[in-house]
Symmetry: C2
């Protein structure tokens, strides 16, 4: 009998799975056995700064270890961290810690099986082909950026063909690229190829030119043959963990690949999906992009992670965590607070439970995840497990396709950031940028309003000033950028800087 | 009992071997069984142009298939082709063709297991760390180039930090990088780390500064953990082929990794090593760099590939092939001509044998390798096999360490290109470049004359003008560049352009 093993190959210490092939097989064989796993979204409070994680990956790992210890077939799906960031020492890695770790964190953190590198090479090859198209007179402006696997502040602004044509470019990190988004959103190699073909390479006499008009698509798909396969690794306690796709959550879509999650749902009963940064970032994107626009499954529960110290460290920002929990509950997603204790914080448990009760949260799950892993809170999961057991398969939610872009942004500002529509402002130049993007889409034969909205923003803020009183908080729109191949439109929000190319610190 | 299997892991359709670990094991266990394989160098006529191959990889594959069909335990060691070049369509791949092919050419040609990509990321991270060192005041000039996996002509000359400091840079292809040379030449991770530490990052107030003075070496070695493992694949006839390392032969050292060849020699009786471009390029580098300076084994025989049409297509250049065969014979390397026929050339065999007899060559091996593979010439290998059977283990040859650089270049010009010392000329600026390199080395505590010489030149020419009469041929030296970590000094020769960053064609 055909099984997942037939789609699985060993790659050193990890295994890689032909998810496209397996999901095709399931579609073609309705009688083949499969599970219908429910999705648990692990999200977090908005971090006080981008480099201060609340512990989502650690939570995800501890949670599935705890669920499996209770006899539940749980798994997790993680994004692949950016090797360049880890290697540069800007971040310690993204594979949990202590007792809540993966068996081979060095593999996950240091390039896995070259997936990110292959995406980088393919995106850069697209730029080279665009450059050739300029030489041949097919293009006069290139709209896709080169990418780098490693951070380098001096690549934020470069001039290529220096001394001759002096063309201004910016280089961005691979996890911010449109090709990474396409890998995350595509459900087959054909779809991936079609999306690459639909990418706008640049313009000729002001008219958009798509890659499909001048490149051999097979060259790009060949480069990605292994990159589209999710990796299977495991926690130190033997729980299976899939790792696939690595878009940043602040400047991109912040979620693992759709096929890795769908495959996990066919193989396990509970699938814990980690989405980047706060609920306003990765979770908003899972719900409003993946679920509403790309057919992903609505979560049956959420775990909202925070640290015991976050509220105390910055009381002015303490409004954000309850806002996130409330928002998820209003969306029919039972939201379980999880407080990730650090060393020396065990004596705060009673006070934390009191606070949670006052805020009318569900009873929080509290543990020192680094020290104790899933064992530290396994006995606190009764309510959580009961919610999952009683949940029926969630229905699909309304798409925003066709909603005018500004209305869509206002909807997100109100629902995900708590800022009403009349306090969404336009920065000088925004309307010009919107008009240009609208025209570009029209000339490319698509409607801007049919694209899914990606909010591009600082990971540490939801509004122009999160410290302002609620009635004064605003969101300012800065510019619009079309990723036609991925089917996305980026809108830059707030006054905060984005970091498509961080400096090594 | 410990065997090579204990050092081998599956990576998808190929296997990867911890060659460092296996060779360490053999060193630590003198009693452990091993073979003492003899090396056959596959080299070729100097190509008429860089993109016109004579068929070295095809020959290498056909040859081992033919030898194994005769019961001889033969294997081959190939370099990894540059994926960017293949993907861009500038070259059709480098994994043989027709009946003389690898089972999964797409893997070899399209990035293998990410080895080249990891080297690219590591070299680029070194540049980022150097940039940070500039910010911190430790460096004022950076001497290591960024690399790209894909060709892009506009990266030949770029300005980074544009609009602020406007720093001029060039970007080169990964196979031209010093880090690739270090991977090829290192016999352990410790040696690799020491060589990275010895790389000159740049200068501060004119004084060289090495990477070892300011970076965490483990970050670089972590990135290369998988890249240092040779891949094992096979021909369509089941013969084992190791693929590892991919430096270009014109602008770098053109040979596979030393450890992959040494491992192959411990596991097989005959090890066919393919070295890039003509005998004046990759073969010269295997002999004069790998063997003389890095302890590699001297070849017991050579196969010198040409096409039936090469001499006819350009009679002015017909002197080069006999020159190469003679040179190898004078070095005590029995040199077997191999003529790789194309479709419709079978009727030329008698004429080719006559020509070879007139030139006093060994009787040539002739076949249509694409059509017939090794079967096409297996019965012509008696003399070749007999030479290998009678050969004793070759002794080590003299090192040129300490020979003044100019004398060393003149020795190469005379021996490998047939140009006597008095016709080696200096281009304006060469002596300044030499003096600067000499000073840089002195200040770095090394002697320029202790570095191994890498001739950087066009793959299609050996002299300033190969069409000139023999008595008028010259070699002009253009500039000197130190790769202190790899232990190499590059000297650019002749008037031909080098191509560290080709254009997509």
């Amino acid at each position: 009998m055909t099984s997942i093993e037939d789609f699985t190959s060993q790659y050193g210490l990890v295994r890689k799975i032909d998810a496209f092939g397996y999901l095709d097989y399931l579609r073609e064989h309705p009688e083949a056995p499969r599970k219908h796993g429910k999705i648990v979204l692990v999200t977090a409070d908005t971090p006080l700064k981008a480099s201060r994680g609340e512990g989502k990956t650690t939570t995800t790992i501890a949670l599935i270890d705890a669920l499996r210890a209770r006899g539940i077939d749980a798994t997790a799906v993680l994004r692949q961290p950016s090797m360049g960031i880890t290697a540069a020492g800007s971040k310690g890695g993204a594979s949990g810690g202590g007792k809540a770790s993966l068996t081979h964190p060095e593999l996950i953190d240091w390039g896995l099986c070259g997936e990110m590198a292959a995406i980088a090479a393919a995106q850069n090859l697209l730029v080279s082909f665009a450059e050739k198209a300029v030489d041949e007179g097919r293009l006069d402006t290139i709209l896709v950026p080169r990418v780098s696997e490693v951070p380098s502040r001096s690549l934020r602004s470069i001039t290529v063909d220096a001394g001759k044509n002096n063309v201004a470019e910016k280089v961005v990190l691979t996890p911010t690229s449109e090709l990474m988004q396409i890998v995350v959103l595509s459900r087959s190699m054909d779809e991936l190829g079609e999306r690459v073909a639909a990418m706008i390479a640049g313009t000729k006499d002001g008219q958009p030119v798509k890659f499909g008009e001048f490149i051999d698509l097979w060259r790009i798909t060949n480069m990605l043959a292994d990159a589209v396969k999710p990796a299977l690794t495991e926690t130190v306690n033997g729980s299976p963990v899939y790792v696939h796709g690595g878009p940043f959550a602040n400047v991109s879509i912040g979620i693992p690949t759709l096929v890795s999650v769908e495959m996990a749902c066919a193989l396990h009963d509970v699938v814990v999906v980690e989405a980047g940064y706060g609920t306003d970032a990765g979770a908003q994107k899972w719900l409003d992009i993946a679920c509403r626009e790309y057919g992903a499954q609505w979560p049956s529960a959420a775990v909202v992670v925070t640290r015991a110290s976050t509220w105390r460290d910055d009381p002015e920002l303490a409004w954000r965590y309850p806002f996130h929990v409330d928002r998820l509950e209003k969306l029919d997603i039972p939201a379980f607070p999880l407080i990730n204790l650090w060393e020396g914080e065990d004596d705060q448990i009673t006070a934390l439970r009191d606070t949670a009760a006052k805020l009318e949260f569900r009873d929080p799950i509290i543990g020192n995840l680094y020290r104790d892993g899933g064992e530290g809170f396994g006995d606190q999961l009764d309510a959580f497990v009961s919610v999952l057991e009683r949940a029926s398969m969630p229905s699909a939610r309304d798409s925003h396709k066709g909603m005018p872009l500004i209305e869509n942004v206002k909807w997100v500002a109100e629902n995900a950031y708590g800022v009403p529509a009349d306090r969404v402002k336009f920065k000088d130049g925004f309307l010009d940028s919107l008009a240009a993007a609208t025209d570009l889409c029209k000339e490319a034969g698509i409607s801007l309003d049919d694209l899914a909205l990606v909010a591009v923003k600082s990971p540490a803020t939801m509004t122009d000033n999160d410290r302002a009183p609620e009635a004064e908080r605003t969101v300012t729109l800065k510019k619009v950028e079309v990723h036609a191949g991925a089917g996305l439109v980026h809108v830059n929000l707030t006054t905060s800087l984005t970091t498509p190319m961080p400096k090594i610190v």
